[in-house]
């Protein structure tokens, strides 16, 4: 516990939120706060620590079990192992995060983090209550199989979580280009929290933005299109139970009404429906692109008429 980066960083989180609120009040920083929204974010953070204690044993047990079969002996004292796990853990985070947006069963546990229409430091603390039960820790198990000690994995995951706190802010504009090229920054992560079709399902990075650049999920913040924060269908109130469980409720209702398509409702992308009556983020993006670039056939038609 003494090595848990999140616990160690908690006083810093509190001081940073106070600074953001006060600096914004005196016009020294850009940050909007609605106290009800902040209350929801902070209570979600508090609840997630309780949920972590209640359900964290599952991830620990699975990691220890897999570690029995580790392929290499890696020492906690090996400096190169810390360098290697920094990159590998960040890649695992990318996989987890991408799946959490592209598969509804994991989206159900991750969506709460995106339900704020604000983007300030309290948004970073709007953490999941159900991720442990939804097995969202699976992508990190290969690290234990390789041979990284479980405590090393836990520390690196904590470092990643702490890093991602400070990027939840509008107070910091763009950083120097070399940093923006490699690191996940406030600008990149603002895009990730956008509900504009242009920004949907982009920038899954934890610490390094390189994974998004490599796998084609990167989108730069566009000054001409300010980010609108939240989810495609924003929540109607600030109820933390609704924030935590609305998508789980939605899945259960869909499966109850139409059990033949249970697999699609559970493992399909958010917004999937058997008859296509709902919209996935892919559908929303396609419709948006079609509006931006009207069909070339339409243009040819005009040309032909003119000719």
């Amino acid at each position: 516990v003494k090595l848990d980066p999140v616990t160690l960083a908690t006083p810093f989180f509190i001081i940073a939120v106070i600074l953001e609120i006060v600096l914004a009040r005196f016009g020294k920083a850009k940050a909007n706060y609605d106290w009800r929204d902040a209350r929801t974010s902070l209570l979600m953070g508090l609840g997630s620590t309780v949920a972590g204690v209640l359900t964290g044993g599952l991830a620990i047990a699975a990691t220890l079990w897999v570690y029995q079969f580790h392929l290499f002996d890696i020492s906690l004292k090996a400096w190169w192992a810390w360098v290697l796990i920094f990159f590998l853990e960040d890649f695992c985070y990318y996989v987890f995060h991408r799946l959490s947006h592209e598969r509804r069963v994991w989206w159900a546990s991750h969506v709460n983090h995106h339900t704020s229409q604000h983007y300030n430091l309290t948004t970073a603390l709007r953490q999941t209550w159900t991720g442990g039960l939804a097995l969202t820790w699976l992508p990190w198990l290969p690290l234990a199989l390789i041979g990284f000690p479980p405590v090393m994995i836990a520390i690196e995951k904590g470092i990643s979580l702490v890093y991602q706190f400070w990027i939840h802010t509008e107070a910091i504009d763009r950083l120097p280009a070399p940093i923006e090229a490699v690191m996940n920054t406030p600008s990149h992560h603002r895009v990730h929290h956008g509900r504009n079709p242009r920004y949907l399902d982009r920038n899954y990075a934890g610490i390094l933005i390189i994974w998004d650049r490599l796998f084609g999920t990167f989108e730069a913040e566009n000054e001409a299109e300010p980010v609108r924060y939240g989810v495609v269908k924003n929540l109607g109130d600030f109820n933390i139970l609704r924030v935590s469980f609305h998508e789980w409720h939605g899945i259960a209702r869909d499966v109850w009404r139409d059990p033949r398509h249970a697999l699609g409702y559970i493992f399909g992308p958010p917004g999937w429906s058997p008859d296509g009556s709902r919209q996935t983020s892919g559908d929303l993006k396609a419709a948006w692109l079609a509006r931006q670039n009207p069909s070339p056939l339409a243009g040819e038609g005009v040309g032909a008429a003119d000719g």
Binding site: I21, A24, N32, D34, W35, A38, N234, G236, G250
Partner: protein, 136 residues
């Protein structure tokens, strides 16, 4: 749960209460003025870019609005300093329940189960202009 964890949790809860208090006292919310026609149409166009809006009605308190697009009702209401937008079958508007000076629409949506509209004293529901359009 250990005693240490419970103490840590208690301290965290106090910190959360203090931060919420600070946000309420010094936090700068986004401007959320009463809805007018221009603002409402802009919100609707952003959310439902393909919708063909006919009539638009804005609640007297400027906190909610209703529009019609074909057989769909387009709903806007304020939550905090943000707005919630939904599309629902037009029939759900006609099924709205009036309680006192408020009309309540049930939405088939776990994330936003109902929309509430302030009505003027003695005003009918659905608002007359929209109802006339619906029957047209």
């Amino acid at each position: 749960m250990s005693a240490a964890f419970l103490i840590q949790l208690l301290i965290s809860a106090v910190a959360v209460a203090a931060l919420v208090g600070l946000a309420a006292w010094l936090g700068v919310p986004r401007p959320a003025p009463a809805l007018d026609e221009g603002h409402t149409r802009a919100l609707l166009a952003e959310e439902f870019p393909d919708a063909d809006l006919s009539r638009l009605w804005i609640a007297p308190d400027g906190a909610a609005a209703l529009a019609r697009s074909g057989e769909a009702a387009l709903i806007v209401y304020r939550a905090g300093d943000g707005y919630i937008l939904r599309s629902a079958p037009w029939t759900s508007v006609e099924a709205g329940v009036v309680r006192g000076e408020r009309a309540i629409l049930k939405l088939d949506d776990v994330a936003a189960p109902r929309a509430v509209f302030a009505l003027g004293e003695g005003a009918a529901w659905p608002p007359q202009a929209l109802f006339a359009e619906a029957k047209a």
